[in-house]
């Protein structure tokens, strides 16, 4: 085991030496980078990133962080949570594999999102060791998420494909704006959950790639340079912009996901812990799925 760890560290340090020897940022490419900065025909990503990061990113993050929970707080106060009996029949919907994959992703997000905030508002925390540690954790906890993101994508892909039910779901916003318990058209996942699936999977992969780009910083990927026609530094600028913008979406839907499972539908979070979903919950919130299960004689 020790041997492998040593080998791994040696490889990493070798890799960083390799970057340094053939730098795409400070080597020969630096001339093109300097000449290309802010040029008419370029994408002007340098000035664009500077403007966005200087004026907007932190404020938008703060807006999402306060705005989304505030909206849900109002929702909770006015419409209130949906409460379903937890003593009735249950359906075993998530097996152990589903739950482990989900929990690994959940723990990763619970570290990645707060540490992301510490980085964004690093000046508030005064920088230094604390924020540096947050930055390192932000990177380290990407590894477990990277491992589970593909299995998670595959295990729920079929249920996450959009269909006609979803249009009706969106028209009434899933019935969350009314106190009534009317059956709502939805399969195993409703349109909101599907939206979160795609943002978490595709957005998550985008976050991993753009984040890895910024972490490794100086490397050469000929294919990518040819494909995009961009220099390394411009790709880094694009990565930083994409990482932040995608971050808004992931954050907003993550908060929504937590609110729904923890507050809006009382006790819904237990279904991903134990694997069992309440019959009433399925009957009302996932009526298409309920019909299917009933036809199969599961209830």
């Amino acid at each position: 085991m020790r041997k492998y760890v040593t080998l791994f560290i040696a490889l990493l340090s070798l890799a960083s030496v390799a970057y340094a020897a053939d730098s795409q940022i400070w080597g020969e490419m630096r001339i093109q980078n300097i000449l290309g900065y802010g040029q008419e025909e370029s994408w002007k990503l340098g000035p664009l990133f500077t403007m966005l990061q200087h004026k907007y990113f932190a404020w938008i993050f703060l807006g999402v962080l306060i705005g989304v929970p505030a909206a849900f707080f109002i929702h909770y106060k006015i419409i209130g949570p949906k409460v379903f009996p937890h003593s009735e029949k249950k359906y075993y919907a998530f097996n152990l594999y589903n739950r482990i994959i989900h929990q690994v992703a959940a723990v990763s997000f619970l570290v990645i999102i707060p540490t992301g905030f510490i980085i964004i508002f690093g000046d508030f925390f005064g920088g230094g060791t604390f924020v540096r540690m947050a930055k390192n954790l932000h990177g380290i906890f990407t590894i477990p998420f990277t491992i589970v993101v593909i299995p998670m994508a595959l295990m729920w892909l079929k249920e996450a494909l959009f269909n006609m039910d979803d249009i009706k779901w969106f028209m009434i916003l899933g019935g969350y704006l009314s106190k009534e318990k009317k059956p709502i058209l939805a399969g195993k996942f409703n349109a909101g959950q599907k939206m979160w699936y795609w943002v978490a999977i595709l957005g998550g992969i985008t976050m991993i790639l753009s984040g890895a780009f910024m972490y490794f910083l100086d490397f050469k990927m000929e294919m990518l340079h040819n494909l995009t026609g961009m220099s390394q530094i411009d790709m880094l600028r694009a990565a930083a912009i994409i990482h932040n913008v995608m971050g808004f979406a992931v954050l907003a839907l993550f908060i929504t996901h937590v609110y729904m499972s923890m507050f809006a539908i009382k006790g819904a979070v237990h279904s991903i812990i134990t694997g069992y979903v309440e019959e009433e919950e399925i009957k009302i919130l996932h009526s298409t799925w309920y019909k299917k299960l009933k036809d199969q004689g599961k209830f």
Binding site: L12, R30, I31, I34, G38, L217
Partner: protein, 200 residues
């Protein structure tokens, strides 16, 4: 007291690409291998009449973009325009590099698993936020020659006096005199000044 605005200027018609400035810098500040705060680049290499060399480092920009994007606010701009940063605050995120028009910020990979360490860049030989001329300041930021009343080492050793550093008025005067002496030939404005100082 009114402070003069400190600027770098590299005369492309004088620079002979000897690389002395970048070596003097690395030696004076005892920079680790792989870090060069100053670099000599040749533009339009091989194109007759258009080839020129110039020495590039942090230009200590007006409205420094690095300072604008830093999430931990580790940059500070002295009254004489020198852009410095606090390495104890810096988290090595790399944003300043993305914002920089000159590719000046560099990151020694000294963290665990090759993570980026605190950013390093030219200080115009003005050290950092630590006690002036203290051992710690010298270790983290290099010499503080400005505090001693000395010219930054790159410009001090430049054999052709292509690289100048000083308050903007003096630098502009030298530049104008040189352009006049050449019969008005040469670029309209010093290379990089449009980006760094907005031609002011």
């Amino acid at each position: 007291m009114d402070y003069a605005r400190m600027k770098f200027y590299c005369d492309e018609s004088r620079c002979i690409e000897c690389d002395g400035c970048s070596i003097a810098c690395a030696e004076a500040h005892e920079l680790p291998v792989g870090i060069s705060r100053r670099k000599v680049v040749t533009i339009n290499e091989g194109i007759p009449g258009r080839e020129m060399s110039t020495s590039i480092a942090c230009m200590h920009c007006t409205d420094a973009p690095c300072e604008q994007v830093c999430p931990v606010d580790c940059f500070y701009i002295r009254e004489d325009g020198i852009v410095l940063h606090d390495k104890d605050k810096c988290i090595g995120c790399g944003y300043c590099l993305y914002a920089c028009p000159f590719g000046a910020p560099q990151f020694p990979r000294d963290g665990a698993f090759g993570a980026k360490g605190a950013m390093d860049k030219c200080t115009m030989c003005a050290g950092g936020p630590l006690e002036t001329n203290s051992e710690k300041e010298r270790h983290l930021y290099g010499q503080n020659r400005i505090a001693e009343g000395k010219v930054p080492v790159c410009a001090a050793m430049c054999s052709t006096k292509a690289l100048l550093v000083g308050d903007s008025e003096s630098v502009s005067n030298v530049y104008r005199a040189r352009v006049m002496a050449r019969g008005g030939k040469g670029s309209n404005s010093p290379y990089g000044w449009d980006k760094a100082y907005k031609n002011q």
